[in-house]
């Protein structure tokens, strides 16, 4: 009998659960989403129907899903986490086999009227399953090699399936999200140090091997690295996206050029302006004030979640909350870093702002799990 279940009596029931919701989190999520609606309206050239309205509908649906998931007891989610992982894994295999072609890569699965992106689902399922694994595992065993190999396999299995699509951005997100849960669960820092050292050595080796007999990558792959390191070197070629994005961002200045006044986005200089690069439009039109405010909203979401996780005495709930918050963090941090030229371009959307159905639904569902952990925490 777990510690959690022994405290069952103190858990709120019925409509009282509404009072115990993490309300600051809901407010912050809604604020971010509203910024997104505004931007989608702007990049559509003042048309609501193009992107903003569908996004609003999805947000509404997502919020309802979040509440439903949140009101469901957390132990239910713990019990189904393995199932969720296997389900997501099967969908990933299915998408590799039958998936429709989208953006040059297989990512979508048509299930009747709805399109599902299993890799998005996997991001949450992976965090759930790992949290359950570490809840079940005796804490004294977490750093033993065999018990470290199990979660590594759990992470790498879907990662390879995603890489096969190919979708480097999501693969990176899966590794980071899974690694974060392992870190939170207390796996020895030596493992992380070793992996980081190996990755650094690999990157160094790849860069050093260039032009030698044992060159590890193709020339075009090095060209992408060059583009990241100096986008200005080839501003009309490979560096076009990033150069234009930076011009848009930088030209925003302190207070921006005003709502719907951004010339870069207006004149279609910007690529994928409603999805991965939407942050540049916001930064151009609302300037530093707008961009920094959005960053603070995101930071607020992370803060509220981490606070909830650390005050929760249930191990599964804590790990799950940290994992969801971490995944969310990686979303916006990678997107912003990429747009601001701190990182190579990988396809990661800005969470809750970029146009995209599955991503928003899945994220809100994930925050539903956070809500459930929050409501049903032992007191």
């Amino acid at each position: 009998m777990s510690y959690l279940e022994s405290n069952l009596k103190t858990v709120p029931t019925g409509m009282r659960k509404v009072l115990y919701l993490n309300w600051p989190l809901i407010v912050l999520l809604t604020a971010v989403a509203c910024a997104g609606f505004l931007m989608l309206y702007s990049v559509a050239g003042g048309h609501l129907d193009t992107w903003a309205a569908p996004q609003m509908k999805r947000f509404a649906a997502g919020i309802i899903a979040m509440l439903m998931i949140g009101f469901t007891p957390i132990w239910f989610w713990r019990n189904v986490s393995a199932l969720a992982y296997i389900f997501a894994l099967l969908l990933l295999v299915a998408v590799d086999l039958f998936g429709a072609i989208g953006m040059g890569a297989q990512r979508w699965l048509e299930l009747g009227p709805i399109r599902v992106q299993p890799s998005e689902l996997m991001k949450v399922a992976l965090v759930m399953f790992l949290a359950a694994y570490y809840d079940w595992l005796d804490v004294s065993k977490v750093s033993r090699p065999l018990w470290v190999l199990v979660p590594v396999a759990i992470i790498l299995l879907p990662t390879f399936l995603v890489l096969a699509q190919p979708d480097l951005g999501t693969a990176v997100m899966l590794v980071l999200g899974g690694g974060l849960v392992m870190f939170a669960a207390g796996v020895s820092l030596w493992y992380f140090g070793t992996v980081i050292a190996l990755v650094v050595a690999l990157v160094f080796g790849v860069l050093e091997s260039r032009g030698t007999d044992w060159q590890l990558l193709h020339d075009y792959q090095y060209a992408r690295v060059d583009t990241f390191l100096d986008p200005g070197a080839d501003p009309l070629g490979a560096g076009y996206n990033i150069t234009q994005a930076q011009i848009a961002l930088g030209s925003g200045g302190w207070s921006g050029r005003g709502f719907m006044q951004g010339t870069q986005s207006r004149l279609n200089f910007l690529p994928e302006k409603h999805t991965d690069f939407i942050f540049t439009t916001l930064a151009e039109e609302f300037g530093f004030v707008g961009a920094f405010s959005l960053l603070m909203l995101y930071a607020g979401i992370i803060f509220v979640s981490v606070q909830s996780a650390l005050s929760n005495k249930d191990r599964f709930s804590s790990l799950l909350t940290l994992g969801v918050a971490g995944t969310f963090f990686f979303f916006f941090a990678i997107n912003m870093a990429m747009v601001m030229g701190l990182m190579p371009v990988v396809g990661v959307p800005l969470p809750l702002v970029s146009y995209g159905g599955t991503a928003m639904m899945i994220l809100l569902a994930a925050f539903g799990l956070v809500q459930s952990a929050h409501i049903h925490r032992p007191r």
């Binding site: 961002l249 030209s251 530093f288 992370i302 971490g326 941090a333 601001m340 701190l342």
Partner: protein, 639 residues
């Protein structure tokens, strides 16, 4: 139960720790993102705003100041001078011919130049500035500057250009710089973007070319805003480059000046080495030329004059010129013979005036013969037959090996152009080069520095320095780089016994101071500067006739090597006067003067010369036009 509770508590605190670490890391990353936003949107906003408005930011290179070159005392040999020039930009000038004719009232510009300029301006893009006049005087330049408002599109500019204040004295050492040519660019695998700047100066010859990478420096950058027409609107940022490294040569500018002046109108070369350090104190080739002419773009008439001169001023005879060393090579043969044991110091060889070999007769320069001579006497009187005899016993390969040890027939690594390797022939060398077997007659010729033997004045100076010091000194030209002295490792001993070296040294002493010495007339009477040397006369054609009666280009080359002081050697000198006649008469006195100048660190006192020569020497000293040390600033006084 207690245990599991304790365990649960431990796992909780571990999770809290890790959770806080995660939160901290995330906060740090958020801070980085925020700072990046601040940088891009607040600090660089203007630049990005301008980019967004269709203007563009261009990177303009700032050419670095080329490294300066000094002599060993800190006297400037190669500097950068302000170059006042005037450019015109078509876009701003409007009516170009009118502006140009206005301008011609202020600065001299010939009709032909003006016409060329007009076509040039039309050919270029409207926004490209075209140089109207270069190297203006300050007066001309300020006249244009004052009138600039009335001259639309005309810009007075100041740039840096290479200048060689010591002119011809250092032309062959330093070489010169010139604008980068397409050929230069094609020779470089990955050219520095600097080289693409119009009129950028690149080392073409000599130290300027060989030390180009050190002297050039690193380009700075200016980020400028340019409008769609390519015109500069304003400067956004500036990052200064690094000037090139300053070099200090081992050359003494006064000695260099004196050596060149002393060579006079001859086609000649002289090298002075410090026998202990290998420092090249002077290395002159006469006649010389003014390198400044090349920097400014030499006129075809001037260039034709230089190339048509039969004294070949453009050639650096000191390191590129290869000559049969003649009798100056006898020290090599003597040392090889002594070391091989085929001759002993107390042994003599009989010289009847010639030897017969393979049906050929090889003459001594003295047809009547020298009689019995030992090693010292053979050097003193430069007896050829002595060397014919011993060389046959030693064999050419040992002579060549000795030559290499003394620095002849090897390439000395100096940052000068076309440093020649020379030839100290071996049997294998002839087989490879000519596909013919070595013959004994070849050995006989080589023994007195004729035949296949070829050496530059540098080789002979190194040889003299090595004999004098008994060490394998290596010639050095760069004394320091940016104030950091080039390390000189103490030269390893030559591995020739002192007794044998002394035989040769005494022979060289006898050449100048012995009663029968071939260069007795060139001796010095100053005891503290006693000289040892060796004459050489190398034949340009086969038959020996009186040099006075043949045309200049058929006369013998006159050579001389020497070092001093005999007891405690400091400097070694080598000298060649092309077609100068005999080594003793033509080269000896010049070598003496240069060596004494080095020792005295200035014009040598007349008391150093034999009494009967003093009046001639005085007249010559008075007639020489030398650099005045008072007129030359040193690096310290300038700083």
């Amino acid at each position: 139960m207690r245990r599991s509770q304790k365990q649960a508590q431990e796992s909780r605190s571990l999770l809290t720790r890790r959770g806080l670490m995660l939160g901290g890391a995330q906060a740090a990353i958020v801070a980085v993102l925020g700072l990046r936003m601040r940088k891009m949107q607040l600090e660089q906003a203007d630049e990005y705003r301008m980019l967004a408005e269709g203007n563009s930011v261009k990177i303009r290179l700032i050419p670095p100041a080329r490294g300066l070159i000094y002599d060993r005392n800190g006297v400037l040999l190669a500097g950068n001078e302000q170059n006042y020039r005037v450019t015109i930009t078509r876009e701003d000038a409007g009516d170009v011919p009118k502006v140009l004719s206005d301008l011609r009232r202020l600065i001299p510009l010939s009709d032909a130049d003006a016409e060329d300029l007009l076509t040039d301006i039309k050919r270029r893009s409207p926004s490209t500035p075209v140089t109207v006049a270069d190297r203006l005087s300050w007066e001309e330049f300020s006249r244009v500057a004052v009138n600039a408002p009335a001259l639309p599109g005309v810009t007075p500019e100041v740039g840096l250009s290479r200048a060689y204040p010591r002119g011809p004295d250092f032309a062959h050492i330093l070489g010169y710089v010139g604008p980068v040519s397409d050929y230069d660019l094609s020779q470089i695998a990955n050219p520095d973007p600097l080289l693409r700047i119009p009129k950028f100066q690149l080392g073409k010859l000599g130290v300027e070319a060989k030390m180009e990478d050190d002297l050039r420096g690193r380009a700075g950058q200016r980020r400028v805003e340019v409008n769609s027409a390519g015109r500069e609107m304003r400067e956004l940022g500036r990052q200064e480059g690094e000037p090139g490294s300053n070099l200090q040569l081992t050359i003494d500018y006064r000695l260099q000046n004196y050596a060149l002046a002393r060579l006079g109108d001859e086609s000649a070369a002289a090298v002075v080495l410090d026998v202990q350090t290998g420092d090249i104190m002077a290395i002159s080739s006469a006649p010389s030329f003014d390198p400044n002419l090349f920097v400014r773009g030499i006129s075809s008439a001037n260039y034709k004059m230089l190339t048509d001169d039969d004294h070949r001023p453009l050639a650096d005879k000191s390191v590129q010129g290869l000559y049969p060393p003649g009798s100056t090579f006898k020290m090599v043969t003597a040392l090889a013979a002594l070391e091989a044991g085929v001759i002993h110091p107390d042994e003599t060889v009989y010289c009847p005036g010639h030897i017969e070999m393979g049906g050929r007769r090889f003459h001594c320069w003295k047809r009547s013969g020298h009689g019995r001579v030992n090693v010292i006497q053979s050097l003193e009187q430069s007896c050829d037959v002595f060397y014919y005899e011993v060389a046959q016993k030693v064999g050419i390969d040992k002579i060549a090996e000795m030559a290499h040890r003394l620095g002849v027939g090897v390439r000395h690594d100096l940052p000068m152009s076309a440093v020649a390797e020379g030839v100290a022939p071996t049997k294998a060398w002839k087989q490879e080069r000519y596909g013919k077997d070595w013959r004994i007659g070849d050995t006989i010729n080589a023994s007195i520095g004729q035949g296949y033997v070829l050496a530059s004045p540098l080789h002979l100076a190194v040889m003299a320095a090595r004999i004098a010091s008994g060490r394998a000194v290596v010639p050095r030209l760069i004394r320091s780089r940016d104030g950091v002295e080039t390390p000189i490792a103490e030269a390893p001993p030559l591995d020739i016994s002192t007794a044998m070296l002394d035989q040769v040294r005494r022979g060289m002493n006898a050449v100048m101071n012995g009663s029968h010495g071939t260069a007795r007339g060139s001796r010095t009477v100053a005891a503290e500067w006693k000289m040892a040397g060796k004459t050489g006369t190398s034949q340009v054609r086969s038959a020996v006739v009186n040099n006075k009666n043949v045309p200049w280009e058929q006369r013998d080359h006159a050579l001389f090597v020497a070092y001093a002081p005999y007891d405690n050697p400091r400097y070694a000198v080598s000298l060649i006067i092309e077609h100068g006649g005999g080594g003793s008469a033509a080269a000896g006195p010049v070598a003496r003067d240069i060596l004494l100048f080095a020792l005295a660190d200035g014009l040598p006192p007349l008391s150093a010369y034999p009494e009967n020569q003093r009046s001639t020497i005085r007249t010559r000293q008075e007639e020489m036009d030398l650099v005045d040390p008072a007129s030359v600033g040193t690096a310290k006084s300038r700083a």
